[in-house]
Structure formats: C-alpha cells, structure tokens
Symmetry: C2
Subunit: 452 residues, 2 copies
Amino acid sequence: MPSAVSMDGLTERLASFVTAARLRDLPEAVRAAGVRTLVNWMGVAVGAARHDAVYAACAAVAPFAGPGQATLLGRRERLDAINAAFINGIAGHVCDFDDTHPATLIHPSATVLPAALAAAEYRACSGELLLTGVILGVETACRAGLAIMPAAYESGWHMTGAAGVFGAAAAAGRILGLSSAQMTRALGFAAAQPTGMREALGSPGKAFNAGRAAAAGVQAAVLAAQDFQISPRMIEAPQGWARVMSAAPNLAAITDGLGTRFEILANTYKPYPCGLVLHPIMDAALAVRAQGPLPADDIANVRVKVHPLALELADRPAPTDSLTAKLSVQHAAAVTLVEGAGGAAQFASGALQDALVQAVRRRVVATADPGLARDQAEMTVELSDGRHITARIDHARGSQARPLSDDEIDAKFLTAAAEVLAPAPAAALLALCRKVETVLDAGALPRATMPG
Amino acid sequence: MPSAVSMDGLTERLASFVTAARLRDLPEAVRAAGVRTLVNWMGVAVGAARHDAVYAACAAVAPFAGPGQATLLGRRERLDAINAAFINGIAGHVCDFDDTHPATLIHPSATVLPAALAAAEYRACSGELLLTGVILGVETACRAGLAIMPAAYESGWHMTGAAGVFGAAAAAGRILGLSSAQMTRALGFAAAQPTGMREALGSPGKAFNAGRAAAAGVQAAVLAAQDFQISPRMIEAPQGWARVMSAAPNLAAITDGLGTRFEILANTYKPYPCGLVLHPIMDAALAVRAQGPLPADDIANVRVKVHPLALELADRPAPTDSLTAKLSVQHAAAVTLVEGAGGAAQFASGALQDALVQAVRRRVVATADPGLARDQAEMTVELSDGRHITARIDHARGSQARPLSDDEIDAKFLTAAAEVLAPAPAAALLALCRKVETVLDAGALPRATMPG
C-alpha cells in the first residue's frame, strides 16, 4: 500500500476527475457499458414499480415530500428529486435483479441511477450528461468499494450503500454542474453516510439501503452546491471514511489508473431475478434438464456444490416469501429443476407454495466447495431408478466471463418492464435508453416510464 | 461479555421499552434531567438560527422540502418535519454549545431534540409526550453508544451521529405513536444509518452529522409506521449494526438495567460554547485571573497541562475561524486569560484577530498529562517579572461532578437566545420549556422560537 502521504488530496483528485471527464473522451467500450447499465436497470426498476415495498415507502414519505420535480419510475406520482431518488432506489433494488460489480459486490446502478435520473430531470439536462454522470458515478462507487474490500464487507457492511453512496453523489453532482471544490464537499457529505448492513438482506430493508444512499447522494450534491463546508479530506484522512470502514484500506484503488482503467467494464447483468450466488446453480439445473426428461416425482435427491459464499449468504432450506426465496440455494435449485425457468414467477408465492417445488426443495443437499469460483456450480440429480444426471457450470450466464449480450439485456428489459408497461411504450422506452447519448432532454427517459 | 445467544431479541426489547415507558413512572430526577436537557438545547439551537451553516443548509434543501409542518427554530420558515429536523439538528450542534454524555462523547440532544420537536409539531402532541420522547431518545442513543465504545470512537466515528441516530428514531417513533413492532423496525432503519466521521470536526460538516441523523430518525419512524419491513435484529445480529461498528460490542450495555438505570442523569451541559476538552483550561484561566491583576502584556508564557484527549482533539496553535477556535487549546487558554470570559464573543472573528489574544496564544505551551482526568487541567502563567501564577481545576464547571445549576442553565439559555429573540419572548420561551410537562400542545415550544 502506498504511504499515507501520497494519498493526501485523494478526495480532491477524485472530485476533479468526476467534474472534468468528458463523455467523448471515454473509450467506446466504456460508453457502451454505460448504456448497458442504464438499460438493464431501467427495465428492472420500472418492472418493480408496483412492489409492496415501493407502495409502503411512497406512503411513508409522500406527506413530507416537496414539489414534483422527478418521476417515480413506472408510476404516476412525481416527488421532489431527493425523495424520488429514494423511492426509485428502492424500486431498482428490491427485486434483486439489478447489476453487480463482482470485485466489490456492489450493485452500482442501485444508487447511481436513481440519483442521476432525479438530478437530470430536476436540471433538465441532456442525455449525454446523464450518461456521463452514470458512468462516472459507477466508477466512483466501485473504486470506493475496492478501497475497503474485503474488510468492510466481512464486518457486515452492505457494500451497495456503504460505498455506493459516493456513486450517487458523484453522478448527481456532475449532472448538477458542481465545481471541483463543490464536488469535493459532495463526496465529503457522502463519506459521512455509509448506509446499510448485511443483516437487512432478505428483507426490503436491503432495498432501503440503496434508496437511502441514492437520496443521500443527491442531498450531498445540493448541500455542496451551497456554501456548506466540510473537510476536503473526508475519504482519506486518518479519521475519515476509509479508515472507519477498514483498518487497512487500499486507498490507491480509488485513484490508480483513474481515467484509463474503468470498473464499469467489469459490471455484470443478471439473467435471473435473485441473488447472484444462485445463478450458477440455476444454470446447472437447466443444463440437467437439457439432458432429457426429468419428471419431478422421479427426483430422489439433488446434490449441489457451490462456492462457500453461496451458502454463507443463501442457505435457506425453507424460504417464506419472495425475498428470502431469492436468497435460497434450495429454492433456486428446486424451482428451476421443476419449472425449467428462472424468472420472476419462479420466486413468487405461487412457486413457493407449489407442492412439487417444495418436495424437491426438501431433497436438495447443498455443500460448499472452496475449489469452485463464485460463478461456478455442480449439480447431480439422482433419480428414483438410481440414475444420476450431472451438470457442471464453469461460468454462470451473466458473469464477467459469459456476459449477457445486448440483445439479451434488451429482452430482459422488455420482460421486466412488461409488469407495468404495455409492449409499445416499453419498446419506446427501450429505444430512448439505447440512444441516450443523443437525447436532448434526459427527463424524457423517466417520463416515458409512466404507465399510460 | 454475555453470550450472543442472550442478546437475541435485543432490538425488540429496546423497542418494547421505548414504546411502553410512561413519564409518570420515571424517577423525578430523570424527568428533571429531561427538562434540563430540553432547556439547554433549545437556547443553544435558537441562538444559532442565524449561523451561516444554517442559512446554507436551508438554501440547499428548501427547493426540495415538503409542506411547512415544523418550525425552523429561531427563524420564520417552516419545512416538512424531516427537513426541519435536519436544519434544527445543524443549528443545535454547530456552535458546539450543546450537551454531552461523557461516557460516550455523544451530544444526545443534537439528534434527539430536533427529531422529537419535528415529530411533536407534526403530530400536535402534548408536552408530556414530547418530554417522554426526549428522555427515552437520550436513553436509547447513550446506551447504543455505550455498546460500541471505545472501538467505534477510536476508529473515527463521530458518536453523535453514529449512535445518536437511534435516539432520534426512538424519540420520533414514540411521539408518532409507533407500536412495539413498528419501533423495532424504526430502530432497524436507524441501525442502517450510522452517520459521521470525526474528520468533519472543525467544519460545519460536524453539525451536518447531527442534522442528518436527526432527519434519519424521523424518516425511520415514518417508514416503520408503514408496512415497510426490515430485519428485527438489526442491532444485535452478527452482520448488524453493533458488530459493524465494533469488533467486540458490549450489547449488554443496551439492555442492562433498562428502566432502572438512566443515562440521562449523566448528561452534562456546557458553560462555554466550545469543545468540552477546553473547559477545564478556561476554568483554570479564570482561576489564574482571580488571583490578581494580569496585564496581558506581562504574560511571558502560559503552561497548560491537560488530559491527552484534549491535545488529540484540539491542538490548534493558530485557528483560522470560529469553528477551529472552538477546538483550540491555545486559543481557549489565551482568550480567557486576556478577556476574562468564555462566551460566544471569545470565539468570534474579533477575538481571533485580536493582537493581544494572538500574542498570548503564541506563548501557550500545552502538554498532555495522562495523570489528569478529562475534566481536569492545570495552568501556570509566568509573568515578565518572573512571578508564577498557578491554578489547578479538579472538575471543570459543567462536568458531571460539578454540574451547572438550573439557574445557570436558565441564564445560559437567555444569553444564547438573545442572539435571536428579544428578552420578553426569550423569557416566555424559557418558561414554556420549564413547564413542558403540562403544556397541552408541544408545538407551542418551537412556534414560540419564531422571532417577532
């Protein structure tokens, strides 16, 4: 690790980068990754607009909200930009279907997109500036996360809110046109607000973390735009954010290769609406099914080998609701084997209560195998006649080594958005997102999510 | 430390206590401490209404704020209850003149009072319920703080926001009438939002921590009142708040003697508007002056011995503004020696720029003495004729061992409030605060702070 001395001015250097980088100077692949990130998250967030948690959060904050400056995605209400970021942050994360930065386990869009969209609609900026803010926000969040991994995660921080709050502040601050000195303060206010513990996983409290960090980022930016002062060293100082979050932070991860290495290129998009650790298991179940007929009644037992993190996070033999099902190795294995699919329906209450799924779920035996990577799994199904069917997944669909194609992301968008939007407006919204760089008024994107 | 098993249900037990405890069942001394806490903070917060940081924060959040549900103390504006708690939290803390719980270094009112007042005005509740919320909020904040001391403080957390957020949620939740299950969730949302690092000390960012934690507490309560779910074990779970904040939390400190031992009895009130560690030094300076004439020109040097924490926090030989002066051992020693007083004027720019004060400041030599307690100090002034005048303070004024009397707190209130209110309305406000238990509409208190 570089000496503490060389890290002097880190917050200011990061702020300077975030305020100065221009979209046209970024590599084409980075801009494309920004669009993929936007498209993936918009579909997921719009599709979740009618989730119970979104209704509850709206009911809670609406009496306190200000003028309708920003759209609640997929809904008819508008709220002030800070509260809109809060609600959209909950919507985008509550279905566990958003993007993941594998090295930090941050869901980058979860905080960056709601903050960026709220700021963009509030300020009526261009799509180009929106995309700039999104890319730089993701970069800021992931780099901050790298600096405190793995200590912060292991101690219990939910990385999405703990580091993602910087991404929200950076995106909102860039879109609101902060100066470099103001951006330094915005990152400082973000540093004061790491949000969320892993204990909330499995409850809507997890999505609260994303929403709260998104809103905190917008508020940090508007506070910084005024003459409200805070130390310019909130990230790197001995009693600043990094050392509070980790006894030995890697501060260099925040600035090394800034502007030449881009973390957004490592962002991944989920094919299944559930915890990432379940994905290779579901791929394995589909691969088992592909080998021939598999009547559920004939399944004697299902042996699953997974990376240890999968069981640490998701060893739930009897999930009780959709959110816990999305963090259940046993349910994911069983429902995919029985139904041959891994969509929203497979984590809804109908699937949870299905007698056949429950019967297979009880026969799932999962073991941790430290020899497997996080995106690997092995499944062996023993049939009642004694036969064994085995499948091994080397890289889960949607992993960094096997990314979803643009077409797959578009298809995912349309499926998710169909929960709320008719096919024509959903396709129009997708087209807007795809061409975001040339859209004159970025507010057109959130407004196009409003159901007809 | 008790086993983790015995701590199961801790968040729920705390929530149950906070929703059930009745004011009339609390010891008389506890109720009196609640009133002292209220009076002390109200004067300080009202007096800070025109601080630059308060104006800046108002300008930042006003465009996003909702209906005028709650008063900004000492101002004419009203904002929604959540934003009002934010602004009043900044006002109450920015002058470093609020109360201190010595064992945790939490400024309990800083988060509890703004949240309680905003909730009380929003719900139009009785003064009795307001005082109940304040006492239980302080209790919750200080007990949470005890659980993570000293590790969290040493790692860099600003305890006021890091643990005080629970106090805000408890106070607001009680005043808003949450059920025990809802209060469990409110504490859970608070757990997700520890706020603020010590790096912000010396800038208004310190006051941001208080305001943000106050607002977070109110929002936590209103979210909990809806059906927005979060784990009921957010404080005690292995990946919950306590273990994120400290590798070895003392969870028993949260529940031991709950309802029989009251931390608010240990709350202290400052006679001087600056960092607590400076108080014994200022007492010593006054005691030196009391021994005879002390022309500043004759001061050859000033030797100060203090507890090591004083230098860790406040070794600032040349403070540049009011906030850094309030954390300067050298300035506090010099200005009190020269001017014979330790009020707001002694930390304003006039005193900072005074040539005589600056000259004496340069002659202050401060050393840490581990044999001294935090509320002790020793000062020896050497005069140009070679004489020495020495004073030793065993307990600073305002410390637990030498608390301010009610009359002293009242006098402090009137002096502080005089920054904003004329004498008659200030006296009327003080009378309202003193009789809070019998006030029918608690909203009368904040409304009475509005300048005529």
